[in-house]
Amino acid sequence: MSGKAYIREMPKTTWWLSHSRYRRYVAREVTCIPIGIYTAVLIWGLMRLSQGAAAWEGFIEALNSPLSILFHLVAFVFAVVHTISWFNVTPSAMRVQIGEDFAPGAVIIGAHYTGWVVVSLIVLFMAGV
């Protein structure tokens, strides 16, 4: 073999546009941005809470602004994308061998979704729905 083998370079920034599989992957990865911002909103809320009732009212008012609602809607969608993508890969990342066989993927994934529903209901109940 001569040294003339041809090397195809991958475009460093746009490679993920080339295949639906990669686009799905990037959609999963960017969920970190809204999740990070939402966490910052929580910290911001703690700050306002620590500053007394008036400051807290201002925070609640800001939460009711159209921009905030839009952000939370987007963040909600991304958060759900994260949840689904996270649960769906659990069986291959953590295999559970019982005796000879492995617990079927559907059971492991199903357990996660069930837990998700339960946890969400508990939080909603605590919030006072």
């Binding site: 041809y6 195809r8 991958m10 599989r21 953590m94």
Partner: protein, 247 residues
């Protein structure tokens, strides 16, 4: 038996004369039951004898006929033409250097495979007179899935991290490291960790999962890598936060 005219585009590259690869189109009369490899073989036998490609078993066992079929890494002997439109594009496996036409250079993969010591490093030395190493069906099953790899490197062609960071050890080699780590007869994990637990090892992987999706043998290299990440993380915390736990 029905015949169908399929336009087969092949990415050609001749290292002696070409600066860059280019597509060449062939019109191939294909039989209903043909696979992509049959169409390429037809081209070589009847249209253009200069087309170079690798194959051997024609039954998804040897792992040598991997190609990009319409942009997707696939075994050409396992890709039935009836599942494709009347025009298909065949390219050499992505992320590997092209030697000629559809033939790619696998030296890098071979070298990496070697580095993870994909063989049993016995836990305890046993002489023949001591009898055989016993293994229960459950112990066998623990790693069986990862033994099914045929080294076709489709997973490397699918993995964007391997394409972007060529130092990455990559899916199949990792899955094989995991296969031996999980083997009850093996005691070589410590040695393999020197490769597995590095930045170029499991930590280059961002769990795109493409490798597992294209693998023709359901090896699930992505899962193997995640399991090794978890184990390496447990190791790290044990080593640094609980040094007394080290044997």
């Amino acid at each position: 038996m029905s015949e169908r005219q399929v336009e087969v585009e092949i990415l050609r590259y001749d290292p002696e004369t070409d600066q860059a690869p280019k597509l060449q189109s062939y019109s191939v009369p294909c039989q209903e039951e043909w696979v992509v490899l049959d169409a390429i073989t037809y081209i070589k036998d009847h249209i253009d004898t200069t087309v170079s490609f690798r194959w051997s078993c024609h039954m998804a066992v040897c792992g040598s006929c991997g190609m990009m079929v319409n942009g997707e890494p696939a075994l050409s002997c396992k890709s039935f033409l009836r599942d494709y439109p009347d025009k298909i594009r065949i390219e050499p496996l992505a992320h590997f250097p092209i030697v000629r036409d559809l033939v790619v250079q696998l030296d890098d993969f071979m070298e990496k495979l070697n580095r993870v010591k994909p063989y049993i490093i016995p836990k305890e030395k046993k002489s023949v007179s001591d009898g055989q190493h016993k293994q229960s069906p459950a112990q066998l099953k623990a790693f069986k899935q990862y033994t099914l790899c045929i080294n076709c490197t489709l997973c490397y062609a699918a993995c964007p991290q391997y394409g972007l960071v060529p130092d990455f050890i990559g899916p199949a080699a990792m899955a094989l490291a995991h296969r031996y780590n999980l083997d009850s007869r093996d005691g070589g994990r410590e040695q393999r960790q020197e490769v597995v637990a590095t930045d170029e090892g499991v930590w280059e992987c961002s769990f795109v999962g493409a490798c597992s999706e294209v693998c023709p043998k359901q090896v699930d290299p992505a899962g193997a890598i995640q399991q090794m990440k978890i184990a390496s993380t447990v190791d790290w915390y044990k080593e640094h936060l609980m040094p007394w736990s080290k044997p």
